[in-house]
Subunit: 198 residues, 2 copies
DNA sequence: GGTCACGGCTATCACTCGTTAGCCATCAGG
DNA sequence: CCTGATGGCTAACGAGTGATAGCCGTGACC
């Protein structure tokens, strides 16, 4: 593995652990065995490291999402696949997802706007997925917006608590989360509420 | 309102917007109309502002939680109330919750350990809530741990997307999220899966 | 009216940070 | 063997940081 990619990995880990502002170029250098100024032989700036990291993360997520929902027209299956991709991505790219969520503020314009735009597109696609399921009578939710946020939040939570060395395998976590998401949107076969009055 | 509490409010908003490391004492001062050094007539240090903020937030959440689950023994009702308190807290204290989640790394020891301990206690209590419901045959989840994380993540997500001026009132959001949580743990009257094979 | 706490202020200290400049060892290619 | 690219290094700059020191106007209180 080249020095350049080792630097990216070290930056990712340090940004996740200490935050962008809390990480110094000297820290990143030390993590790959060189001094801070030597990093500039491989990287344009500290901000560039963040920009690359966040745009690559968001692009990767969007690509995976599009591939996941492209294969079928059935609303339930589409959401199932979208959640599968969503959760799997957050399991495999825990640190990227964590940095992507918590360091948006450190991303300078115009890159921040672009990344935010892609995230909005991602959220919009999920919302439409839920909408379609509701329109087809397959999902039953009080609010499409809240339901799609809830589904997204389920997966994003992995960034906090998921560990590769944990007792549950990636596949187990993925399908349990998918099950949760489908329950959440009321995708059971015959619809049953939870006994609430309202 | 005294200057001291105005400073706390300004610090909260700035920590949420720019992060702890990204906020300077001069910024906080400017937000309340004084210079940076003058802050020290009201506050011991920048770190102190974060310590106060995070411990108060976690204590507030724990108090609310204990009051919520203390009133009844029925597992479903207990979880319902716990989720209600959880979501309501995250709606009312969006910024505190956001800072509490994202600035743990900036909290110095020994305070970080204490806050983490309280958060672990909170998570443990939620897990027990789910456990009790499963033991009583009222909930049906593949993994108690994953289900309780999912329920917690639902509420914590509010820190990102909830806005007081939004179209949905606090009460509406709270009960929809509660509904989601109960669906998620399979608290319907007659149990029905979502048709998965595994 | 003297005193004194309160709460502003400026100047300054002691660092730390990202970044640049410029030096040098290594090594491949002709 | 020269040459030039590569990728390390130290020194240093310039800007900014949290925090302290010390000054001073205001106003309450005896």
């Amino acid at each position: 593995m080249g020095t350049a990619s080792a630097i990216r990995v070290a930056a990712l880990e340090l940004f996740a652990a200490r935050g962008y502002e809390g990480t110094t170029m000297a820290d990143i250098g030390a993590a790959v065995g060189i001094r801070g100024p030597s990093l500039y032989k491989h990287v344009a700036s500290k901000q560039d490291l963040l920009v690359e990291l966040m745009t690559a993360t968001m692009d990767g997520l969007l690509d995976l999402h599009r591939a996941a929902v492209g294969g079928t027209d059935d609303p339930v299956e589409r959401l199932r696949r979208a959640v599968d991709a969503h959760v799997r991505f957050h399991a495999r790219h825990r640190l990227e997802a964590f940095v992507g969520a918590s360091e948006m503020r450190s991303l300078a314009e115009p890159h921040r706007g672009k990344v935010l735009g892609k995230r909005a597109e991602y959220e919009r696609s999920f919302r439409r997925l839920v909408e379609d399921g509701v329109a087809a009578g397959r999902f039953h939710v009080p609010s499409v917006r809240l339901a799609s946020y809830a589904v997204l939040d389920l997966g994003m939570g992995l960034a906090t608590w998921y560990r590769e060395e944990g007792e549950l395998s990636e596949n187990e976590v993925v399908w349990q989360q998918t099950e949760f998401a489908l329950r959440l949107v009321g995708a059971g076969q015959g619809w049953t509420g939870t006994g609430r009055d309202g």
